[in-house]
């Protein structure tokens, strides 16, 4: 195996693996914050975690294949949810849904919901593979 000076140590791997758990409460807090009060400090704090986490996904290749597989599963679920949300944006669908479409077409709520779906899926996969 070639030497990689940027390879993660065992401690770094364990720490980053445990750090992934924080995304779940943060994404739920963000969704609740958006539903309750859009100016809440809750949103600022939780959005920081959620946004930082998703930007950090660009470096997921540094994780080992087991973690990458779990993240890929969660990403698939989140993408499926995004597909459903996109479908609900179609003009004819929003006409059928009526007032309910207001919630379903709010971009911030959809993104926060997508984050919740991602983290719930990730938690489900991690717990089932323990």
């Amino acid at each position: 195996m070639p030497y990689d000076p940027k390879a993660m140590t065992d401690d770094q791997r364990t720490w980053s693996y445990k750090f992934l758990w924080l995304g779940l409460p943060a994404s739920i807090m963000l969704l609740i914050g958006l539903l309750i009060d859009e100016n809440s400090i809750l949103i600022t704090l939780s959005a920081g975690w959620v946004v930082g986490f998703f930007i950090g996904m660009a470096f997921v290749f540094r994780q080992d294949e087991f973690v990458q597989k779990q993240i890929a599963f969660a990403a698939n679920m989140a993408l499926s949810f995004a597909g459903i949300a996109l479908f609900l944006q179609l003009p004819k669908v929003t006409l059928v849904l009526g007032e309910a479409s207001a919630f379903l077409t709010d971009p911030a709520l959809i993104l926060a919901s997508t984050a919740v779906v991602f983290h719930v899926s990730l938690a489900f996969r991690r717990l089932s593979e323990r």
Partner: protein, 64 residues
């Protein structure tokens, strides 16, 4: 997939974390492979085989 990883690791008195360091994967990944919840990729299977100086077929069994 059934495998002999736990036995081979125990013979060398290695912890899961020790084996993880040798294979450049996390302790959680070693645990998932040992319990059959994660099938390693081909490159990782080769690394495991080389580490124990055995063939992949001697370590992993896909008949179960």
């Amino acid at each position: 997939m059934k495998n002999r990883l736990k036995v081979l690791r125990a013979e060398r008195d290695w912890s899961q974390a020790d084996l993880g360091v040798h294979l450049d994967v996390s302790r959680q990944a070693v645990n998932a492979i040992e319990t059959g919840k994660h099938d390693p990729s081909l490159p990782l299977a080769f690394r495991i085989a080389r580490l124990f100086d055995m063939s992949i077929e001697e370590i992993f069994d896909d008949q179960f």
